[in-house]
Structure formats: C-alpha cells, structure tokens
C-alpha cells in the first residue's frame, strides 16, 4: 500500500482520469517561515493488478492561502474537456472564505499532464454556493442561487447570469464537438412564451450560444421536476433540429431511457436518491449504466435489455475508467467502511473482477446472461402459443344450432280499446282481432260485391255521462260485415288515425337482427331510453321518438322473437334510420347480423294515397255541385218590387218575403237533395274507392297497418 494515512483522515475528493485515480484534499499547516498555510494537494494512483492494489504514481500541491483567517474547502472536482487543450482534464474548484467577512473567493484549478495544478478561473461571490454547483466542459462552472442561474468560464469574462427564469434547473452537456452545455428547467413565467402548451413549458438554454430551445427534446415536461440526474448519451443538432438519446434517474425510482423526448424504456431502480449516472463500455459485451446514490447504493443496468445486472450496497463512490489498460471500461466501487482506496471492487461484470476487503455478502451479483434467460423465455412462450393455435385449429365447430321452429302466428292488433267500459253495442260487437291480416284481406278480395255486405256501428262509452247529459262523445266503430261474417273496422279516433297515417306515409324498413352467439339483451328498453322516446298511447307496441331535428318523427316497433333474434320496424326518413342504426350498432353485440327484410318504398305509397285523396275530393266536388245545382235551378225566385211597408198588405208581403228569404238561406245551408241522386253519388264514390283499394291491396298485404288505412278510408267514404 502506497497510501499515506492522512489521506483518510481529511476531507478528500476522488476523480478518475485516464485509468488513474486522483485524490484532492486541502490541508492547513503552520510553517516557520510563512506561518499558517492552506494547501491544495493532489495524488495520482494507478491500479497494480498483480498486487491487487492502488499505488501512488505522483503527488503535488499548490498554496491557496497564507492567512490564518481563511477557510479553504474543495467545492467540487470533475474531469471535463478543456476546450483549449482539447483533452480531458481534471478540474477542482476551491473556495476560500475569510472568517470575518462575507466574501467568498472561488478558484478553479486544472491538473496538467505534467502534474502541475494550474489556476484557471477565479471569481468572487457574496454568498456560498450550495450543492447545485457543477463543472462542465470548457471548463465552465455553473450554479444556481435563489432561482437564478449563473455561470462562468475563461471566455465568459466574469460571472454571467442566464437571462431566463426557470425552476427545477438541470445542468448537462451534449456529447457533440462544439461544446454544448445546457440548462433545462420549467419556465417560471409561462406567459413569456407564445404557446402555452405543456410541451413548451420546458425551456432549454445554451449558455455559450445564448440560445433558448425547447427543452422537451431532451427531457419531457413531467420528468423535469422528478429527474434526479440526467445523462445525454448521444445528440444531433443542426439549426432546427435537436435529436438526442438520454437516460435519467427519477425520484420514482426509475431509470428512464428517452429518444427525442419520448420514453422508450424504463427500469425499476433498486434504491432511491440516484445522483450519478455513468456509462461503462464493456466492449463486445455491451454497455452498462452505473447508477449511484449517496446512501451508498449502486447498480449496473444493461443498456440493451434495460434490466438490472447487479446491485451493491455500502458503496462510498463509483468510478468508471479503463484501470487495467485493457481497452474497455471497468467499474471501480469503493466501500464506505474502512480506508477508501483499500476496500474496493473492480469489475466489468464480464469476466474482470478484482476486489479487496470486500465481504462476499456485500455483492449481490446477478449472473450476466440475463439476455439468454429472456431469449429462452421468449422461445418457450412462443412455442406454447404455437401449440395453442394448433389446438384451436383442431377444434372444428361441427355443432349447428338446432332449428327451433316457432309456430306462433302474428296477431294483428288495432289500437286497443278499453275493455272496462260498458259496451252499448249493437249486435256485432265481436272484434275479429285474432285473424292475421293477410287472411282477412284475402277473404275480402274474394267477396268483392258491396251489396252483400252490411254496415254495423258499435259505440262504446261510459254509462253515466250518457244517462245524465244526453250528449256523449265516444268512439265509434263502423263494421263492414259480409255474408262470411268478415268484418272490416275502423275507429275514427284521431290519435290512432294519426298513428296509422304516419305509418303509411313514413318510409318504412324492417330489419331482421340475428345474433347467434350472444343474446341481444333488452333492445326495447334501450330504445325507450333514447331521448324523446315514448310509447304511442293508442298502440303501446309502437315507440315514437320525437326529435327536435328537422327530419322529425320516428316510429319504431321492436319484436323480440327469441333472446337471440328480433325484428325491428323503423318508420322514418332514410337519414334518421341510418343515424339510429349507427347508435343501435354500438348497443348490439359485435357478432350480430342485421338484414333488411323489406323496404317498403312508401315514397310511392304516399303519392298513391295523395292521388286517391285528390280523386276523392274532385269527384265529391263534382257530384255535390251536380246535386245542388239541380235544386238551385228548381228554386229559382224572381226578385219582386219592394212592397210598401206602410199598409197592412204591404207589411204582410214584406213579412212573407222575409220569411221566404229566411227559408231560402236555410235551404242553402242545408239543402234538400234528391234521395235517389244522393244514393247514386255515394254508391259511385264507394265503388270508386273499393276499386282503388283493391288495386292497392296486393302491395299492402305485407303491411298490415297500411291495409288498415285502406279499409279506414273506404269505410268513411
């Protein structure tokens, strides 16, 4: 051991430089000639593999102060690139403080290859730097004081302040030739920058160039407050583009790998408070990151797999260099107990391992072939998965769902009638609701002769009002019964008429929904929960959706055949139908099939009905005017001279005249018509209607509602 014992008693700092360990310390002693002298001392050590020890190679010192009242300390030391020499140079920053006074003098020394400590920069501050000081290439000294950032270098001509205000500042350098020292942080005053997006809140600054840049390219916004140490691995920069790969250790106990500000990988760190990341190039075996914490923990992480390779505790410091001169890096870990240089581990985790004074338990080394393990795992996993897929292929779906034959015939219901009210009906009170529409209409075609049928009216009302007031409004059913006791019916109830009209005039789609694997659930309930949806009172199986949209109303009818099948009738415009289907699809199981069963082009139906109505109006007008004209002609009166109202006779005549006038106007209001002619007119009209409706009926057969409308109109005519 070539170490003097005083090195361990004093506060000393180590750095690694070209495969050697350099120690710095300050020493105060009294001399006869100069009195009290404060000295900065360095010692250079090299590793001697055969002796398994560090041996002293060189030593030197420089006097810092000759005053007793001066307190001399090493602020920090680091090996950085000296821009002038273009070589990595050990730097040490020494502070000198007068005991009485508030002036702090800082001096940066560089250690030359000739083992001389050379003064490089000197500056004075009115305060003492805290932990935030760091030496970067140049050499440049950067520090933070009261949320302001200062720096100095040979070229900077004194201490400079960075012109932007940031919090959570991070210092670092880009590994590119023209030294780019950077400062990163969150801008304190966001309004300074035009775009207030979170991405832009990360501000970067190059002090040498006085240039502001978007710091999120190095480290994204959420990581700035939690980053504990940052290392830029590679960088590419032109005027407009900054691309870099970065690793950062966070207070969330993670090592995060970034590329261009995007997280590419994370690794859980086995300890908290990381403060230093170094890169170990082990040559063929790949690259390791060594992370060190002040609590004495260190771990090595493979860059390739981003997995922890090894983890040590009880470590006082970690250095990376080629101590053996073998061409690749090794890690040098000093233990925090005992003499620093006497208890160490020198390893690259790939075959090189020297240690002294280490207990075997202290090292928790994971065997390096992590990757192999992972590869094996992957291979096994993929083989397993292949087997799975084979099994699936063998699994032939040979079962077919048995056809369950449904024998329920569709019952056609007209708008319901309140069964509780007493019926004052005439003989034909029976409602033949039970027969399917198609059946009935067939019968009707067979017995086309109007004269064989008879009309019956059924009224239904509450008993009490009829007994008391004598004037009752009630629903009336007009039956048209043929010899086959076939009954047509209609209800002149306005509400149901509205429904029927809507059903007829609106475009109509019937969709068959089939979901063989997954039951449909409560489709009806879902429809009812749509906004503005309510049941149609007269016919509750219909749901009406009254949207405020200009396209207007939508009528729906959901008929669930089995839990897996159903039929949906939609009456609305095409656009509405598509919109509705769109939202319905989200509700239905993904595996279901929807097939349009029928699309009644009611565009033409509506036109046909309009034409029929027009015809009806025209023919009625013609017939009625014919009827009335005849009467008018017969009652033609001559206008007599005005009688003298003075005499009795004149008065009498005037009265008669007036009475005649009253009579005339009364007749005009309710004219008498010839019964025979009237019957003829009505009969013609009816026959006209019947022929129209029978022409329509074949295409109505598949639409019970429309059939109903036809019969409705007919009966009314």
């Amino acid at each position: 051991m070539g170490l003097s014992s005083d090195i361990f008693r004093q506060n000393f700092h180590l750095i690694s430089h070209f495969g050697k360990i350099i120690s710095f310390n300050c020493k105060q002693y009294s001399t006869v000639s100069d009195g009290e002298v404060s000295e900065l001392i360095f010692r250079r050590f090299f590793f001697e593999p055969r002796g398994n020890a560090f041996l002293k190679a060189a030593e030197g010192s420089v006097v810092i102060s000759r005053k007793t009242t001066d307190k001399v300390e090493i602020a920090t030391c680091k090996c950085v690139t000296d821009v002038q020499k273009r070589a990595r140079t050990p730097c040490v920053l020494v502070s000198k403080k007068r005991v009485k006074g508030d002036k702090f003098v800082y001096r940066l020394f560089t250690l030359s290859s000739l083992n001389c400590l050379e003064p490089c920069i000197e500056f004075k501050l009115s305060y003492e730097m805290q932990d935030s000081v760091c030496i970067l290439q140049g050499p440049t000294v950067l520090w933070c004081h009261e949320n302001r950032i200062f720096y100095t270098s040979i070229h900077a001509e004194g201490v400079k302040q960075i012109p932007i205000e940031i919090s959570h500042c991070i210092f670092g350098e880009l590994p590119i030739p023209k030294g780019h020292i950077f400062v990163l942080g969150l801008q304190s005053r966001p309004e300074q920058l035009p775009n207030n997006h979170p991405t832009n809140q990360v501000v970067g600054y190059f002090p040498w160039y006085g240039q502001v840049f978007n710091g999120a390219a190095i480290l994204p916004h959420p990581y700035i407050p939690i980053a504990q140490c940052v290392l830029v691995l590679s960088a590419e920069k032109d005027d407009h583009l900054l691309k870099c790969a970065v690793v950062a250790a966070t207070s969330n106990q993670q090592l995060v790998y970034f590329e261009n500000g995007i997280v590419k990988d994370v690794c859980k760190l086995p300890f908290e408070h990381a403060e230093d990341i170094q890169v170990v190039n082990t040559g063929r075996n790949g690259i390791l990151f060594v992370i060190f914490s002040k609590q004495g923990n260190a771990c090595a992480i493979w860059k390739e797999t981003f997995q922890v390779a090894s983890h040590w505790s009880g470590v006082s410091s970690v250095y990376v260099d080629d101590y053996l001169g073998c061409g690749t890096d090794q890690m040098l870990l000093f233990r925090d107990q005992g003499a620093a240089l006497e208890s160490f581990l020198l390893t690259d985790l790939c075959g090189i391992s020297f240690s002294w004074g280490q207990e075997s338990e202290a090292s928790k080394t994971t065997p390096p072939p992590q990757e192999n393990f992972l590869l094996t795992l992957q291979a096994l996993e993929s083989r397993l998965q292949v087997k799975t897929s084979d099994d699936r292929m063998q699994d032939t779906p040979a079962v077919s769902v048995p056809a369950v034959i449904q024998t329920l015939s569709q019952v056609f219901r007209l708008p319901a009638h309140r069964p509780s009210t007493p019926s004052l009906s005439s003989s034909t009170a029976a409602f033949t609701f039970s027969e399917p529409a198609a059946k009935r209409s067939k019968q009707r075609i067979a017995s086309d002769d109007l004269h064989t049928s008879r009309v019956a009216v059924t009224g239904k009302t509450e008993l009490a009002p009829m007994l008391t007031s004598g004037c009752v409004k009630c629903r009336v059913m007009l039956h048209y019964a043929t010899n086959n006791s076939f009954i047509l019916f209609f209800s002149p109830d306005e509400v149901s008429e509205d429904l029927l009209s809507l059903l007829t005039v609106l475009d109509h789609w019937v969709l068959h929904i089939d979901s063989p694997d997954y039951s449909l659930g409560d489709v009806g309930g879902w429809i009812q929960k749509r906004e503005g949806c309510k049941k149609v009172e007269v016919s509750p199986q219909y749901l009406i959706i009254d949207s405020s949209a200009p396209s207007g109303l939508m009528l729906l009818h959901w008929d669930q055949i089995t839990p897996f099948r159903g039929e949906l009738s939609i009456h609305c415009s095409q656009l509405q139908m598509l919109q509705f289907l769109d939202s319905l699809l989200a509700f239905l199981p993904a595996s279901c099939f929807i097939q349009p069963v029928k699309h009644a082009k009611s565009q033409s139906a509506a036109q046909v009905f309009a034409l029929v109505l027009e015809d009806e109006v025209l023919s009625l007008r013609e017939c009625v005017s014919l009827l009335l004209c005849g009467e008018e002609a017969g009652n033609e009166e001559h206008c007599e001279e005005t009688p003298d109202p003075g005499c009795v006779e004149g008065l009498q005549r005037s009265r008669e005249g007036w009475q005649q006038a009253v009579e005339r106007s009364r007749r005009r209001l309710s004219p008498l018509v010839d019964v025979g002619m009237y019957r003829e007119v009505i009969r013609n009209t009816l026959i006209n209607k019947w022929s129209v409706s029978s022409a329509l009926t074949p295409r109505m057969l598949d639409s019970k509602e429309e059939f109903c409308i036809v019969s409705n109109k007919t009966a009314r005519g």
Partner: protein, 606 residues
C-alpha cells in the same frame, strides 16, 4: 426548433398500437407489453392530462392478466391505480382495506371527466372477486356495481361508436369493451350466486334472479346456464315438470348444454318415466360425442372466456356430467330393463366396441378394471340372450371366462359385516374378498352359457355349464353359516354380493334341473329343482318345473301343490337393483300354465 411529440400522444399511440396488434393476432403478443407501457406511464406523477390514458393502460394490462388468471397481479395494479388516483385528487386515506379505498376513490372522482375510467377498473375488481368466489365483497358492493352498470351502459354506446369509427386516434383504446365485460360479469355473478344458493339449499331464493338473468345480453352458453340453474332450483323445490321446462329451454338455447340433458334424465328417473329417460340419455350420449361439447365457450369471447368467471365449486359440481361411456351404459341397461331389448343390445355392442378402442388410447393405469369390464360384458351377454342371439352371448361369456381364469380364487370365506367391522381396523378388505367378484363373474358367465345351450336345446352342454357354475359357487364358504338368507342393509355391496351368489345358485340349479328333465333324468332333475327352490324360493320356472317332474314321477298331488304355490307367490318384474344376468331367463323351455291348470282340474274333478 424541432417540436417533440408530447408524452401523452406517444403513450396513447403505443397503447393503441398494442391493442391493435393484440386484436390482429393475440397469440403472438407478449403479455408484458402493457405492463412495460404502464411502468413508463407510472414513472411520472399522475395528473389530469394523463389520468384517462393511465387508467386505460391499467385496464388493458389487467385484462391481459385476468385472461391469464394472474389475479394477484391484477389486485396489485388496481391497488397502485387507486393510490395514484387518490394521490392526485388529494384524498389519501389511511385505510388499507380494499373496499374502503374503492369507495374513497369512487367518491373522489364522482363528478370528474374520468369517472368512467375508474369504473372500468372497478369492473376488473369485480372480475377478481368473482373469479376468487368472493361473493360477499360483490354483495357489499351491490350499490356501486349497479351504478357501474348504469353508467357504463349509458356512456358505453357512444364510446364504442367512436372507437369503431377510429375518429379519435388520441383516445386510448381498450382491449375489450367494458360493457361486454360487465355484461359477462353480471350474468356470471348471477350464475355463481345461484349455484352457491343451491348448494346451501336456498334454491328458491335464487330463482327470480336467474330468470331475470336469462334476458340479459350474454353468450349463448351462459343464457343456457341460467335456464339450467332455474331448472335445478325448481327440482330442488320439488317442481319437476317446471324444471323440465327449464332444462328444455336450456337445450334449445344451447344445444351443447349437456348438463341440462343429464339433469332432465335424472328428473325423468325420479318421475319413473323410463321411456323419457331413455330418450334423454340417448340425446345426452349423442351430444357428448360431438367434438365441441367439452368446451362450451368459443370464438367471440376469446380474450376473456366466461369460464374464467365460473370457478365456484358448487357450480362445477352442478355442471358435471358423467362420461359418454357411463351414459351409454345407463342407456343400454335402461333399454334392456324396459322392454327395448334389441336397442339395448345395440348400445351394449357400441359400448364394448368403445371400451375396446379406448384401451388402445389409454395408458395402462387409466384402463377400466377387468372386473368392471366383465360385468358390462355379462350384462351385454344377458341382453344378447334376451334378443335370441345365444351364439353371440356365448362369445361374450367366453371372453369373460378367459379374462377371469387366472384370477379365480381357490376358496373364499365370507364374514358377516358386523363381525368384520369388529375384527378389522380401517378399510382393509379381508383376504380373498376382492376375488369374490371374479368368482361371481365367472359363475355368471357359465350360467349364461348354460342358458344359451338350453336355448339351443343342447341339454348335455347345458348341464355341463350349469354344473361349472354350481362348482364355482361351492367354493364360497360362509363363516357363521345360517345368517345369509336375508340381505343385511348395513353393507349394501356385501349384501348385494351375497344376494347375487344366492341367485346364481338358485338359477343354475334350476337350469340344470330343467335340462335333466328334458333328458328324462327325473331324479336328478327333482333334486336340483328342489335345491334351487331352497336357494331361491321365488324362482318361477324352478317351481313350475319341479311340479312337472313330480307329476311325471307320479306324485301328482305334490305337483299340484307345487304349481299352486308358485302361482300364488308374487311375481317379481325385472328390477334395477339386481344385475340383468342374475334375473330369471325368459328363453328356456316353457310350461303352458293353462295345460297345468287343466291337469289340476283333472286331478280334482269338481
């Protein structure tokens, strides 16, 4: 300067890429991908910009883990997510109880934009509870779960639609639709709860829930399960006809619902409706032979199979179904016993063929014991004889005799169960007892062969085989003789064996006696028939033929008395408690009762 992509966007894209890859080819996906992404996202403090993304990734990671049944991992992720949400909303509570924390989280996010994301995670917690059968936790969270269902069903539709259209590339996608997940959980919960209630004997309580659940949107097989369990509840409530309706619905819903067929067969058995039972067994057997009947859940739910959530023991036992071979055996036996002999014979032949081919596929250890196989063969032989196929019956019996030859014991001593229970400890069998079945097998085979020869009127061979049967039976010695003419119900198997021995003896002696009669060796015939009647007093043919021999020997009054006695003793129909091969053969030489009556009349002219 270059604008770096925001983390939110890049993570969302990564998540969506993983989801997309997964949907394209789930098989090659490494399960850890979502975990890795989640580790990245959880590396920064949760804030309102990231919360939807983070919770969506937690959801996806948990879905993957749930699919792999890694519930502890799921719990861990959910716990972390809860803590991070509480940290963000500033509502950290000191409790470590999962339910308390869930309530705290739900309360803290109630009116926020990411309420639904937390509900998605709650649905995964529900999944964990269900998988681990923690029904109490589900019960405790009934209210929260109903809120979950309502909120998701209201919100869900819009989300699905957006996702389907790919309108919002920056909305984090989910591996499965949360609505489908909760739908699955909802019905699986009802099914599991129903099974547990049934297990506790509270089937009637579960009925209404099960019936309501049958209307829920769910995979076909699960709807079938609700009907099945409703049926089980009704069976439990002693309403077999309604239960049958439910089982029918279950089969209609899912033709592969074999347990419903099995349960129907059991109900029919209980109702003593053998023809319907045979029908149900036949359907059950043919369904069991279909390739997919073992796996009720297939495509459509490939990521989270419903079977993941149906882990209750009670349910498994309800859903268990005997093997196809067992069903085939029951079917064959039922057919033979209930007058469908030709059909039964066919089933027995199928069964034997299946056993034969199974032997080639199974390892030695899994093979069916030779004794059991032999009993099946004997039943088949008896059925063949009933179907007038004596030659085939002979072949089958020869097989039995060949198999058993080497195992035949020299001598067997039988002890009464009470004595045995006193004299032995544990369940160790008395030496030689395990060979009793071998002996019974062989003896029964000889008996059947004797019947076969009698059927073909080869009386000499018949006598030889009956004699072999008798010869085997005398190897059984009874310790403490004299107590074995009744069937002790203390030990069913033992009692059955004694009874079978007794019947074998009676039937073989009767057969030999009848054969001697046919050979005109009347003295030997009389001896055998009388011995037979001693062993088996209810033997009909022994009684009738004994009378016949007596008649021929001129002892007419005794003959008449013997016939009268036989006619007056109650006639026993084929019974299921005794094997078919020890029931009285219907194939031997017959005596015309009318003729015998006439003879009695002649003897006592009125």
């Amino acid at each position: 300067m270059f604008q770096p992509m925001s983390l939110l966007v890049s993570w969302t894209q990564e998540n969506n890429k993983l989801v997309h890859n997964f949907k394209q080819s789930s098989l090659t996906q490494r399960s850890s991908e979502f975990d890795k992404l989640l580790r990245q996202i959880q590396g920064i403090p949760l804030d309102r910009h990231h919360v939807e993304l983070e919770l969506s990734v937690v959801f996806n990671a948990c879905v993957r883990l749930t699919a792999q049944s890694q519930h502890e991992q799921v719990e861990l992720l959910l716990k972390q997510a809860r803590e991070r949400v509480l940290q963000m909303t500033g509502c950290l509570s000191g409790s470590s109880d999962s339910l308390v924390l869930w309530r705290a989280v739900l309360k803290s996010v109630r009116s926020t934009a990411f309420h639904h994301c937390v509900l998605y995670l709650l649905s995964l917690q529900w999944a964990v509870w269900l998988t681990c059968c923690q029904l109490k936790a589900i019960q405790d969270f009934k209210l929260e779960i109903s809120v979950l269902l309502e909120t998701l069903k209201e919100k869900g539709g819009d989300d699905c639609r957006m996702e389907a259209k790919g309108k919002f590339p920056n909305v984090p996608k989910l591996l499965i639709s949360p609505i489908r997940l909760v739908e699955l959980l909802q019905i699986c919960t009802v099914i599991t709860q129903g099974a547990e209630k049934l297990h506790e004997g509270l089937g009637s309580e579960a009925l209404s829930d099960l019936q309501a659940a049958s209307l829920l949107p769910a995979p076909r097989a699960l709807i079938a399960y609700t009907h099945l369990l409703s049926g089980s509840c009704l069976t439990h409530m002693n309403r077999p006809q309604m239960a049958l309706q439910c089982y029918r619905k279950a089969v209609e819903t899912d033709s592969g619902c074999v347990c419903a067929l099995h349960q129907s067969a059991l109900v029919y058995r209980q109702l003593k409706n053998s023809q319907a039972e045979i029908q149900a067994l036949r359907l059950l057997h043919s369904t069991l032979l279909l390739p997919s009947s073992t796996e009720p859940f297939e495509a459509g739910t490939r990521l989270l199979s419903p079977s993941l959530f149906l882990r209750s023991q009670s349910l498994s036992s309800l859903l268990s179904v005997p093997s196809a071979l067992t069903v085939l055996h029951s079917l064959a036996l039922k057919c033979v016993l209930h007058g469908r002999v030709p059909e039964g014979v066919e089933h027995y032949l199928d069964l034997m063929a299946a056993l034969h081919s199974e032997d080639h596929h199974r390892s030695f250890r899994e093979r069916i014991l030779p004794e059991i196989r032999c009993f099946l063969y004997l039943e088949a032989g008896a059925a063949l004889l009933m179907a007038q196929r004596p030659a085939d019956c002979m072949v089958v019996c020869n097989e039995v005799i060949g198999t058993m030859q080497e195992l035949l014991p020299e001598k067997i001593v039988l002890q009464e169960p009470e004595e045995r229970s006193l004299s032995r400890t544990g369940d160790v069998r008395v030496e030689g007892e395990d060979r009793l079945e071998v002996l019974i097998c062989t003896a029964a085979a000889y008996l059947l062969q004797g019947h076969c020869y009698a059927n073909t009127k080869d009386w000499k061979q018949a006598v030889t085989h009956y004699t072999r049967c008798v010869g085997l039976l005398v190897k059984v010695h009874y310790k403490n003789r004299g107590k074995y003419l009744f069937i002790p119900d203390t030990d069913v198997q033992w009692g059955t064996n004694v009874c079978i021995l007794q019947r074998l003896k009676g039937l073989s002696l009767a057969g030999r006696g009848i054969s001697f009669t046919q050979m005109d060796r009347l003295k030997e015939a009389l001896r055998d028939l009388q011995l037979s009647l001693q062993a088996l007093p209810e033997g009909v043919s022994a009684g009738l033929w004994c009378g016949e021999v007596l008649w021929r020997l001129g002892r007419r009054r005794e003959a008449a008395a013997c016939w009268e006695k036989t006619w007056t003793s109650p006639i026993k129909s084929p019974t299921e408690t005794l094997p078919v091969y020890v029931q009285e053969p219907q194939t031997g030489p017959l005596l015309d009762s009318t003729e015998l009556q006439n003879r009695i009349h002649e003897l006592h002219p009125v």
